[in-house]
Each structure stands twice: as C-alpha cells, then as structure tokens.
C-alpha cells in the first residue's frame, strides 16, 4: 500500500465512521436547543420584540450583542483557511481548515438571524436590498444598516463558496467510495462531476488561491464595517476610531477560542490526534494570546481616550460605571487576565486547561459586547436619559438556542461531510 493510499484510507475511515453515543447525545441536546430557538423566534415574530428586554435608551441589546459575538467567531475560520493558506502555513493550517471554515459558515448563519429579528418586522428584511419597488423608495446607503447587509451577505457568500470549492475533491472521493447507491448519488450531485483531471486541478488551484485572496481582506473588512455601526454613533464608548482594529482583534480572539473548543473534543472522539496534533493546538493557543493582547491594548486605549478627551460622558462611563460593573470585571478577567496563563507551554499543552480557558474567553468576549453595547446606551450624555437593562427569559433562551442550532449544524456536518480536508493533506504528503 502506498503512502497516499494509507493516508486516504485512514482519514476516510474516520470521516465515514458511524456515530457513537457521544454524537447522538450531543445531537439530542443540540436538537432540543434548536427546537427552543425555533419556538422563541416564532413567539418573538408573532408578538413583537417587546418580549425582549430592549427598551429606551437600551434599544440595542441581546440581538446586537449576539450578532457581533457570532460574526466575530466566524473570523478565525477565514483567518486560518485564507490567511495561513496565502502565507503557506499548510502544515498546521490544513488539518483544521475544514473545521474552521465550517465553523465560520455556521457562526455567520447564527449572526445573520439577529439583525433580521431585531428589525421587528422581519418579513420586510428584503427592504434592505436595492430592488426596484413601485414606490421609488430605496435603501439609504449612508446608513449603517445597508452596510451590515452588504458586509454580512458578502462574508457569508464568500465563506460558503470558499468552503465548498475546497470540499469538491473530497466530495468526489466520497462519491467514488460510498458504500450505498443513495450516498453515491448524494455525493455525486455535490461533487458536480469532479473527475480529478489535470485541467480541473489547474483551475481549482487558481480559484482557491483567488478565493483565499478575496477572503483575506474580508477578515478585516467585515468586523470593521460592523464596528462602524458603533463608531458613527455619538454614544459614549462607541464614537472612536479605535473600534475597527479593536473589533477585528476581538473577533479573531473569540474565533480561535471557538476553534479550540471544537477541535479539542473532536480530535479525541474521532481519533485524529495524529492529524490535529498538539502542535496545532499550541499554535492556536499562541495566536489566542496574541489577539488577547490586541484586545487588552484596546481596553487600555479606550480608557485612556476617555480620560484624555475630557468628555464627561466618556469619563463617567469608563471611570464611574465600569468599576462597579460585574460584566466589566468578567470581561477583563476572562479576556485580559486568564489568557496570560497561555505564556506557559505546560498550560498550552494541557488540553483540559486549554479547553476551559477557551470557554472563558468566549464568555469574556460575549460580556465585552455587553459592556460596549448595553452599558454605552444606558449611560448617555444626558443623565436624565439614563436607564437600566434586564434581559428577559426570551433573550436568554434565544442566546442559548443559537448555541444549540450551531451545534446541530456542526454535528450534521461531522456526520455527512469530509470534516478533514483529505485531498489537501494528501497533497502535503506528496
């Protein structure tokens, strides 16, 4: 047996393995979460967003926090699959690229739900698109809402195309070696007649390279656009040119945390520790430390800016409100203090500790968005307009439900699709 045959058979045996108890348990749990999400979305749409905790002045709350949180998670997928591809870091990029691209697509799906629901009348979401309507009313492209629509649509579409193009050779392999006719038909359709001829490979390489080149600036542009939604507003804590790099750094930080949260159990459960090696996890942890410092720098500059500007509302928020806020201290502990443990190789190599740190980083990043959005709106320039905010059970249920939906999509992908980019790993072997 040649090395190529050995690698192919080893990886596809794991990809096609029948699901065990762990998969079914996770599927049941995530299925329940998805069901709850569906019911709560139906309740919200039928009743109106008054069932959420949003109020005046806190007009943006869980919906926008969750939107920014989920779209941020998607960033590491594109970072790993596109930027590391362009930098020819294939030895540690290839084994996790498919998992991270999948994570990106499914995270952006969760994110896209929220602005649409937050419209209040989601059936009019298509008004954001410049379609020729009879009233002659067009989207106002100087407003942030069409920017988000353009940025998120582009990011989702390019991520899906990049993900799919990378998968075509593996889908063809599944088609050719599937055990049943039904599976051969399914993968045959998805592989769109891939033959593996040199002409197709030549065009495939260029297409993949072009898509990676297009996806790379998107890593920076998408969250910069999202951050512009905030930066163009006068709300304390929002109106700053710091926002784009701060948001992008936080996005990649949370994305790497989610990569580790997914990769650590998957490599054990599917027996692919020899593919997703300790070194790959170590590299992800190091990048989490780097992006963690970008975010920490953002916190420092944000507070310095508030002090140096002399702006009373900014000072009041940063130095009056933050020190007494549990959300602020949770954010600071999880994003700036706990990740410092990653300086130690022993911590980076201890999978359970790394997993816990990654979960805490995700918690911290969610609270960061809470601090920016909710606390900024609560503490406006005019003290008489100050308010408070409490989420409702519907808010919390929808947040939990998106984790269920994300998990469900991921589990179905693990079951049916090549979650390891076999052809790219074989190329590396050759």
């Amino acid at each position: 047996m040649t090395e190529l045959e050995r690698v192919h058979d080893d990886l596809f045996t794991r990809v096609r393995a029948r699901p065990g108890l762990h998969w079914w348990s996770a599927f049941a749990l995530c299925g329940a979460g998805t069901g709850m999400l569906g019911v709560l979305i139906a309740y919200t749409v039928a009743t109106g967003i008054g069932v959420w905790g949003t109020n005046i002045p806190t007009g943006w709350a869980f919906a926008i926090i969750n939107f920014v949180f989920w779209i941020g998670i998607g960033h590491a997928g594109t970072f790993i699959s596109a930027i590391l591809y362009l930098l020819e870091q294939n030895h540690w990029r290839n084994p996790i690229s498919r998992l991270t691209e999948t994570m990106t697509v499914f995270a952006v799906v969760q994110a896209a739900l929220f602005p649409i629901l937050h419209l209040g009348r989601p059936w009019f979401a298509y008004w954001l698109l410049p379609y020729p309507d009879v009233m002659g009313v067009w989207p106002q492209v100087k407003s942030a809402l069409p920017w988000d629509a353009a940025a998120v649509t582009t990011y989702l579409t390019v991520s899906v195309v990049f993900w799919y193009v990378g998968m075509i050779p593996d889908l063809a392999s599944l088609r050719d070696h599937a055990p049943s006719l039904r599976a051969r038909k399914l993968y045959g359709l998805l592989a769109i007649g891939w033959r593996g001829d040199s002409r197709s490979w030549r065009h495939w390489k260029v297409t993949y390279l072009m898509l990676a080149s297009i996806a790379t600036p998107l890593v920076v542009s998408v969250h910069s656009v999202v951050s512009s939604d905030f930066a163009i507003g006068l709300t304390p804590g929002w109106h700053s040119t710091l926002q784009p790099p701060y948001f992008v750094g936080g996005a990649i930080f949370s994305g790497f945390a989610m990569v580790l949260v997914l990769a650590i159990p998957i490599r054990v459960l599917y027996g692919i520790e020899h593919v997703i090696t300790d070194r790959i996890l170590d590299n992800c942890a190091k990048l989490m430390l780097v992006t963690g410092w970008i975010v920490t720098y953002g916190y420092i500059v944000e507070h310095f800016g508030a002090y140096y500007s002399g702006e009373p509302a900014e000072r009041s928020l940063m130095f009056g409100h933050h020190p007494g806020s549990l959300a602020f201290w949770t954010m600071l502990s999880c994003n700036a203090i706990i990740p410092q443990l990653l300086w130690w190789r022993r911590v980076r190599r201890a999978k359970l500790v790394l997993f816990v740190i990654s979960v805490l980083v995700l918690v911290g990043l969610w609270f960061e968005r809470y601090v920016i959005i909710v606390q900024g709106l609560m503490r406006d320039q005019l003290p008489s307009a100050w308010g408070s905010y409490t989420p409702t059970w519907v808010d919390l249920g929808i947040l939990v439900g998106t984790f269920g939906f994300f998990g469900l999509l991921f589990l179905v992908f693990l079951r049916l699709m090549p979650f390891v980019p076999v052809s790219e790993i074989k190329e590396e072997v050759e």
Partner: protein, 176 residues
C-alpha cells in the same frame, strides 16, 4: 474525452513517463487524472496557465463600479435626502458597499468561471465507465489518450503504455 484508452499507474513518476512517451508520439489528446494536483503533470502535458485570476479581477472591478453607480443612482439621483446638509453624492459612505460588492462579485465570478472552464456540472463522463477509475480520487494516477487524436494508433499506444507497467489498462467509450 469521449473515447480512448486509459491506463492507471502506481506513481507520479510512471505517469510522467507515460505522458512523455505519448507526447513523443505526437499525441495531443491527453488527459491525466490524479488524486492531488501536480505542477509537473501540467508541465508535461504542456498546459497553459489558468486565466481565472483575470476573471476574478474583471468580476471584482465590475462589481465595485456597479455598486458605486447603483448607490449614486439611488441616493443622489432617484431619491436624494438632505441628511444634515451633507451633499447627496458623498464618496466616503459609498466606499463600504463598493468594496464589499467588489469582493462578492469577484468571488462569484471566479467560481462560475471555474465551473465553466473545468466543465463541471456534467455529472457523468465516459471516463467514469473505466473499471477501477474510482482510484483516481484515492491514490491512482491515470492517463487517458483520446481516440479522436490525429496520431491515434490503438495497438501502438497500448503497447507504449504497457511498456511503463500500468496497474491496469482499459478502453472506454466503445474502444475495446
């Protein structure tokens, strides 16, 4: 390639030797099928560079220009609104959607062009009827020679391909 002879080799080196042997005979209707891409195979076949990078560039540029024009048309020409006395035509806020649409249309153009020039979406191909051809997506290195080639000589080609010790050799598309 609708009909011809296909041979499978165990290694890339054997495949390259077979391609060179066929090209030395003046055959041009050749296609190699491999589990992973190889630059050497493209070079041996005398393949030209893929034009898809140009397609991506043209698509991206068209998307960006189109998006800018559309924004101007909507908010500066068809439905101008006075927002704090700012001029209706303002390049800065138009930049975001312009850049995003450039990326989007560039990516979609390169994908569609890839599908067209690679002749995908043809779910069945005569080569799929070759016994054992599924190894092309596992670890097999296949070379197909088209029967419509002006230099076609079935017996001589079979003999030359067999000289490089294929693991299997079959005719397809009615070639026995």
């Amino acid at each position: 390639m609708r009909r011809g002879i296909a041979a499978e080799y165990l290694t890339k080196e054997s495949l390259l030797a077979a391609i060179r042997a066929m090209r030395a005979r003046g055959l041009v209707q050749l296609e190699a099928y491999t589990p992973v891409p190889f630059r050497e195979v493209d070079a041996a076949l005398g393949a030209r560079r893929s034009p898809l990078a140009i397609a991506a560039g043209i698509g991206g540029l068209a998307g960006a220009v189109g998006a800018y024009f559309l924004q101007w048309l909507l908010v500066a020409y068809l439905y101008p609104i006075d927002l704090g006395s700012r001029p209706p035509h303002m390049p800065l806020p138009f930049t975001i959607i312009t850049v995003e649409m450039g990326f989007l249309v560039g990516a979609l153009t390169v994908f569609v062009a890839f599908v067209i020039v690679s002749r995908l979406f043809k779910l069945w191909d005569p080569i799929f009827d070759v016994p054992g051809f599924e190894s092309a997506t596992r670890a097999g290195f296949w070379l197909a020679v088209g029967a419509d080639d002006p230099a076609w000589d079935r017996d001589a080609i079979t003999h030359a391909l067999q000289a490089i010790r294929p693991t299997q050799l079959h005719g397809f598309g009615g070639i026995g």
